[in-house]
């Protein structure tokens, strides 16, 4: 099927790529069907694109590509909402939403509210972590870092 995207115009995707977000994304309750689109030239970044609304496209990173000691403590009962349970062997992935600044150094990631996807069943949800000291704006590049 063809979808309109924010950054890549019209692209062709397979139905099997669509991830269901039964609750939408926080602030976007109607964004319930999204796809992951790889960022060209940098595998750390992916777009989470709403297949029905081109404007809704989140730039995301894998947490551990930038924050080595990132911890996500989510209650089993909440993970069960996307079909992840202790005794089942589901593949899952985690993604942080990036807010770009004028430069890469000024860009931040939201560590407080990761997106978790049950890759096996194509189900996703944005969780708000409790009990961590994370905020919504952590610089991707630590200050003074030479990278």
């Amino acid at each position: 099927m063809k979808i309109q995207t924010k950054y890549f115009g019209e692209i062709e995707i397979e139905e099997g790529m669509v991830i269901q977000f039964p609750n939408g994304v926080l602030g976007f309750p109607n964004s319930s069907r999204l796809v992951m689109i790889d960022m060209p030239d940098n595998p750390s970044f992916k777009f989470l694109q709403d297949i029905h609304n081109p404007y809704v496209s989140f730039l995301t990173v894998s947490p551990w590509d930038f924050f080595n000691d990132y911890e996500m403590d989510i209650k089993d009962e909440e993970l069960a909402a996307i079909g992840i349970a202790e005794e089942t062997e589901k593949e899952f992935s985690a993604h942080l939403i990036v807010t770009l600044g004028k430069s890469f150094e000024q860009s931040t990631a939201n560590l407080l509210a990761p997106i978790v996807i049950n890759v096996t069943d194509k189900l996703g949800r944005q969780f708000i972590l409790d009990g961590h000291d994370y905020g919504t704006k952590h610089k991707l590049v630590s200050e003074g870092s030479g990278d």
Binding site: L59, N110, I128
Partner: protein, 87 residues
């Protein structure tokens, strides 16, 4: 005693169910969520919530902060491709 009125909060009109409760009294939501008034002092209200573990309970300002950041994240007008370094 209950009433449903249009309540104006910070200029935003919302339709809200309003109940009067005394200290120690509760309300039940959907048969299995109990919200109890524990203490009132200095303009602060302490409430206790008993709910199944799959129910997410948040302070609204934390929720609002995430919603605001999500909106900001997609409302950028930068040239993404030139900002993200190539690898």
């Amino acid at each position: 005693m209950e009433q449903s009125i249009n309540w104006s909060l910070k200029g935003q009109v919302i339709d809200m169910l309003i109940l009067n409760r005394k200290i120690g009294e509760s309300i039940i939501i959907q048969d299995n969520i109990e919200v109890r008034i524990l203490e009132i002092s200095d303009g602060k209200l302490k409430i206790g919530i008993e709910a199944p573990k799959n129910i997410s309970i948040l302070r609204k300002e934390v929720f609002d902060q995430v919603v605001e950041e999500n909106k900001k994240a997609i409302d950028e007008d930068h040239d993404i491709m030139s900002i993200i370094p190539k690898k």
